[in-house]
Symmetry: C2
Subunit: 292 residues, 2 copies
């Protein structure tokens, strides 16, 4: 059997790809993420979406929050330092005998600070499959951005910064929502705020309300406000993660828009990040996991 | 007529007090804040709550978001520097001829950064009514904490930090809600985090996700997590507002619990803040406004 299914099963999204060996044939996506499903609902959700791809014994390799305690089956964290895929996969017991489902375990860090990842280890495996000799830092921007120090094929340490969730929450749930609506984006305001936050990161928390006041007093455009807030948050993130990226080679792996913002911010600091698309890295990682 | 009504009418709460001259007789509170009312609903809301206090011509002095553009009547901002109550009150036209309603205008700052307040200027008037010679900084903690530099009876400059809203949003709307539920509070964790954030404010944004990871990996108690998050935010706020409070006399005027947290944080930095209760300062400020 050369056909198999690669499943990127996160908190809010399920994305499955029909694979022929290392080649992606078709991808489907739904909002049946981990947080919408009880344990018994994972298998029906998968069958409902991939049913016509399954005409015999079918291997499924999944990564992400599907392996959390609240997921389909808990895939216990491995501890650092480790390669992104060592110690193998966690098998899932299924009702449908045609399914052969395995989940990639997440990774945990106990020191110097507690941290966890689920799904990003698979993207890192994809990065190392594409760039086997890579030494440096992988930046995986998203809801919870990960900065992972990679050396000799291993994840040495990492740091999670919830920048994406902060931006979404501040623009959607706080008083700033009145002044930062829409999806406009001002690049100059963004880069100026990155620089501002990097040089004076201690002012971040005080700068937020300025966005509301600048709208009330000067009618500041929402696109400028959104650029400033994003720049302040990413600039503060770069200030906090300086020990990770300073003087190192950097790969960024994320969605198009977010990746562009991080790349622009890092480039403005004199760095030259390499960009690898997130979905390709996930598939490359799941392909590598299938071979383990 | 010696009886009048003091109204503290904010975004989410309406609190009215029947006054006999400078003496408070009775206070009533409802959730009919500015953001639940259209312009036409303010007068009926007031009459429904205070009806039995109104047996003839009755003066009502109100402060807070009731004077915003979306409020009962817009009370245009005054610009700094100004005394908290100069330039008088904004009269409101009412249907009920017995009512004589006035709103205290808010204050705006154009430089060095844009900022606005509505309601806090009345508390500051109350502080200056109690301590006419006060020179220093008023810290008014709350959803949007204000730091106001007071000199010669005037507000010279101020800074709003949305610390209270950040804490509520992070503990209620983000992934941290799974690890920071309840209303527990660990004072030691709080003070350690204040110190941590003050000495390394650039790490704030990266420390947030640690609270989730520490729960997942070590089962960290929610009360400790809440103490740490509050300490990180207030510590970051103190780092950002250092030019305001450093080496100055400080008055804190807020609710009991929040005031205690700020007082503990400032005391841990060798300061000796004076505490004045928020509701008393609001009434003292509205009483001063009545006399203008």
């Amino acid at each position: 059997m050369t056909y198999w299914i690669a499943a990127d099963w996160g908190t809010t999204t399920l994305r499955i790809t029909r694979m022929d060996g290392t080649r992606a044939l078709e991808t489907r996506e739904s909002d049946q993420g981990m947080n919408t499903l009880t344990r018994e609902q994972f298998e029906p959700a998968l069958l409902a979406m991939a049913g016509d791809w399954i005409d015999g014994p079918t291997q499924v390799i999944a990564c992400g929050m599907v392996g959390a305690r609240q997921g389909w089956a808990e895939a216990a964290y491995r501890s650092l330092p480790c390669t992104p895929l060592d110690s193998g996969l966690t098998k899932v017991t299924t009702q449908d005998a045609r399914l052969d489902v395995s989940i990639v375990p997440g990774v945990r860090q106990l020191k110097p600070h507690p941290d966890v990842m689920r799904g990003e280890e698979t993207q890192i495996a994809g990065i190392l499959a594409k760039l086997p000799e890579f030494e440096g830092v992988a930046c995986l921007p998203g809801t919870h951005t990960k900065w992972a120090h990679l050396s000799a094929g291993e994840i040495v340490s990492f740091r999670t910064v919830m920048t994406g969730e902060l931006f979404a929450t501040l623009t959607g749930q706080t008083v700033l929502r009145h002044s930062l609506s829409g999806d406009g984006w001002d690049e100059d305001a963004f880069l100026a705020a990155v620089s501002d936050a990097l040089s004076r990161p201690e002012t971040l928390i005080a700068k937020m309300f300025e966005l509301r006041a600048a709208d009330l007093l000067h009618g500041q455009d929402a696109a400028i406000g959104r650029g400033i807030l994003s720049g302040l948050l990413i600039g503060a993130e770069l200030a906090a993660t300086k020990p990770w990226w300073m003087g190192r080679d950097i790969v960024i792996t994320g969605s198009d828009k977010t990746t562009r913002a991080y790349a622009a911010a890092l480039t403005s600091q004199g760095l030259n990040p390499k960009i690898l698309p997130a979905r390709d890295m996930t598939l490359a990682g799941l392909t590598a996991a299938k071979g383990t």
